[in-house]
Assembly symmetry: D3
Homo-oligomer: 78 residues x 6
């Protein structure tokens, strides 16, 4: 379940690392909103700083990883 | 202490709400770790309080929603 | 993209769900700041995405729930 | 390891700082769950490390502040 | 809306409180990005609301504390 | 400011990535507390899941990266 990114075996403690494709990017003054498709038809949204967005060179259509710490995940039931 | 919000369609500001099936639950003294399968073969992990886990009546095999605020989602690239 | 979960009593693992009245909304390019009064004279502030704010149809004077995961709550003492 | 900041009026960027009374404390190996009453009948729950709980000398009945960063607050509507 | 907590030694449950010097501030409509140098050559970045930034009177060159809850800290290894 | 971990240029959107040395590890049933020294005399604390701690093979004395999303960093002033 540990993410192994790249060929130099980078590992993160974050339990949730999902590979996806960037579907949209919206840039604000300080933050940016990035939407990834992580499974067919399943999109997830991230807010990161505009600078990170630029520095990572994020572009619609590129692959990227979505990373979420387990303590930031809630559960809901009906 | 668990919130029970009305009887109508509930909407959340959280941009990431994924329906899934509970695949494992591990209970500690204060927290619990809950793993959901949100797409075929795609599991995500949540840490919630043990009390919430009990109050929601979470059980392996049951359906549940996984909820993540967009500001808690990071992006990584190779 | 806003989640609409069923027509039944929705339960969340978040331990802090407070009913309140929206007292102010400030919209930015990516995010929005929403202030709720959750008890007489007790206001709390939320930052959500602008899109969530629009999709939820938030308006000053409307009722809404403020939701905080317990692991995001700190304690301070004098 | 607990921060003791000066002897003057301390100000935090956190938009949500609520004075309350500790109503319960539950201690685990790593974390502790602390419940504060922040308004009459309005309780909020915090998960902090056990060490912080001990170092702050938290006890049921004592006053304390509950602190939440606005970006960790979600909104829900019915 | 900024919290001003008493005149005594303030203690926080947050395990990470680092004294630093503000190196840059960038203001958006809702949020602001603040960079602090917390050790020689070691800069850390914070996103807070623009209002908090103004209310705290943050300015480049001033001292400030950087505060992070331990549950929001991840670990990575190579 | 973007972190480049390893030789395969892994990059994260997290604005705060600090290299450090693990100084202590405390294991609970669900979570673990890991302390890193990120600059001489400057320790920071992380709470991750016990499983991540085991899977990453964390040990006192080993090098590791501490990662914090900017939106989870608060500022305080005296």
């Amino acid at each position: 379940m540990i993410s192994r990114m790249g060929g130099n075996a980078m590992k993160l403690s974050a339990r949730n690392v999902l590979k996806g494709t960037i579907r949209s990017i919206e840039i604000g003054q300080v933050n940016a909103e990035v939407v990834l498709e992580v499974a067919p038809g399943l999109e997830m949204t991230s807010i990161i700083t505009r600078k990170s967005c630029e520095n990572l060179g994020l572009k619609v259509g590129k692959e990227a990883y979505l990373i979420v710490k387990a303590s930031n995940v809630m559960i809901g039931t009906e």
